[in-house]
Symmetry: C2
Subunit: 380 residues, 2 copies
């Protein structure tokens, strides 16, 4: 990689204000990630930097791709010679493409020698498996956590958000992993949404304590113990419908279940929108009705627009990484940049670290399980 | 229990027509089940029997509750002295309330001595756990199946239905259980929807064969082998969004995942409808727009109305039981009666039995796992 600084971000040392907010925050962008690459990430990054005078940017990508950003304010360009394709196997990202934009972007979050890292948070729309494996390999997990988790927000009926984790980073979780997710999710919500003692629900197939698998029942016990020790604010078991009801601020589940819940919701939302379009497009009368109802329908559509909820946080690493959907357009990518910026600004990394450290003595260590990236990591 | 026949269903012996359709079909109704009991089940049953001249009914419930059905056509009343409450523990239903309407209703599906069972299918809106445990205890599983599964239909974007199973009868499934679900789901869809060789998708967190837990990967292998032997038509892995896309006719998953997917969808649908109401109720203009758009919105609402998809089949038992939502209203309960009637008429029980029997030699027996009702069953 080669650095071609324009207005280097390092000129202003980062400080912490009296209210604990970090400034300026340096956001690192994997310019090449996602289905659309620079045609989406660059305009979104430009809009972001124009709106945030206290932010700096590092744009990472192929030299010719990032060239348009050369004269942007508070922006540093970092060249990379390779790109992780959306369908590259994790092994390829880890072992072969060692100068990929994704890898170089994540590396900006690492301390080099006694020098502090230059970036505070990295955002990529690239290949999820590759991003998780690279982030885990390069940054390592924080002490006490053996598996990073992927967390996103979903809208709920209370006009708020429900944070759901894990979303697929971990299949086959132990009860201890679910407890770790609860602690990390709590840190995320208190950092980003400023909520004190957010409530945590354990996703189950019934509200009763006796419901669910052995892992879930044990997780319920651990979460209750953690609640009694003041580590988290445990609500109890919740069911699938509670995610959108807003019963708890945070819903924890293993990555398989979270991924299915998220994708099932995406599928249903798509079907709804397509049904509404079909109904209003049926004949002349319905088309006229659509014209009259248009402002209302547009408002509704914006409200359920999944792009407004873009940006999933990868939690439990010694660096802050946000992943956004491969199909992200400019709006979605900008929303993800904003979320990542807010998280870094409110020191999400320190908070997760502190909360895990505070809980470490009383947190049972997780039984050894297997995450998708583990095998590969060892090979890298 | 005491039988007070009016127009006994036994007067016309059931026969099989040349196209293999059963007639007349005797539907047994647990009149007391559900949040609303007889106030819903009786009007729905009356509408059902009036519309199906080839059906007969057995109405089971407290004598005073079922009395209004005394002079209905082709209807037999069977009294029970107890009712399983919606919040009764499974143990209570199995061990204490031995003359409950639910238990008596299911018993109508059992042969007594050398006499054939009087009922062909039983429908209840009662307590799910109790219904599954009682059905399993009284009817037993068919040879080759060690766990019954609960299957429902959901609408999809192809204007068709996707059948999803299991929905919560089994947590912690083995790969073999998932294969059994695939065979039973195929029998259900070919019986009820008349579809030849319906396709089966395995719910996973990615389409690639290497994705998912060890159980899922092994299930994928078993399903491919079953496909190669012509037992099922295996599509491959599907993701959550494929349920509503209609990628495969049947989607199989363990009961925990299926339950979360179903309830998450219900929660999202409820949120959508509430958001649409809020948007159209915002001010005078939006209310006028709602008036104009009303016929379109009503059509849309009917299309996504979950009551149209009521009635989940409990598969793998030596008797046919349908479960419908506790909150079912008259429409939902009538839809469930229709589905149950169609399934019995098209000999779902024989078909599952035949398909499982045909597959038995090549089907690996399921590793011993644990279902919610197993413990209790042994105690009963």
């Amino acid at each position: 990689m080669s650095v071609t600084a324009t207005t280097p971000s390092k000129s202003t040392p980062t400080s912490r204000s009296s209210d604990g907010v970090l400034s300026p925050v340096c956001v690192v962008v994997d310019c090449m990630g996602g289905d659309h690459g620079p045609s989406v990430t660059l305009p979104a990054s430009r809009a972001f930097i124009d709106k945030h005078p206290e932010a700096t940017l590092i744009i990472v990508g192929l030299p010719e791709a990032i060239e348009p950003a050369r004269h942007w304010p508070r922006t540093t360009l970092v060249a990379a010679s390779e790109v992780v394709a959306m369908d590259d196997a994790v092994e390829v990202a880890l072992r072969r493409k060692k100068d990929s934009s994704m890898r170089v972007a994540i590396s900006q979050l690492k301390a080099v020698g006694d020098k502090a890292p230059v970036g505070h948070v990295c955002v990529s729309a690239g290949n999820t498996g590759a991003l998780m494996a690279l982030a885990r390999y390069l940054l390592k997990t924080i002490q006490g956590i053996d598996r990073p988790a992927l967390a996103t927000v979903l809208p709920n009926q209370n006009d708020g958000f429900t944070t759901l984790l894990d979303l697929g980073a971990n299949v086959d979780c132990s009860a201890e992993h679910l407890l770790h997710f609860a602690v990390m999710g709590s840190a995320l919500v208190s950092a980003v949404d400023g909520k004190d003692r957010p409530s945590v629900g354990l996703l189950n197939i019934g509200e009763e304590v006796i419901k669910g698998s052995e892992v879930i029942k044990k997780a319920g016990e651990l979460l209750r113990q953690a609640h009694d020790r003041g580590l988290i604010n445990f609500y109890g078991n919740v069911e699938g419908n509670d995610i959108f009801k807003g019963t708890a601020d945070i819903v924890v589940c293993d990555g398989f279940v979270g991924n299915v819940a998220l994708k099932t919701s995406e599928g249903l939302a798509t079907m709804f929108v397509s049904f509404i379009k079909q109904e209003f497009g049926r004949n002349l009368f319905t088309k006229l009705a659509a014209l009259v109802a248009m402002p209302v329908l547009t408002h509704f559509k914006n409200r359920i627009d999944h792009r407004r909820y873009a940006g999933a946080a990868l939690l439990g690493l010694r660096g802050l990484v946000f992943k956004t959907h491969g199909s992200s357009d400019k709006l979605a990518f900008e929303v993800a940049l904003n979320r990542a910026y807010d998280a870094a600004r409110h020191r999400l990394l320190d908070r997760v670290h502190d909360q895990i450290a505070a809980a470490l003595d009383s947190l049972p260590s997780a039984a050894s399980g297997k995450s998708d990236s583990e095998d590969v990591e060892q090979k890298a």
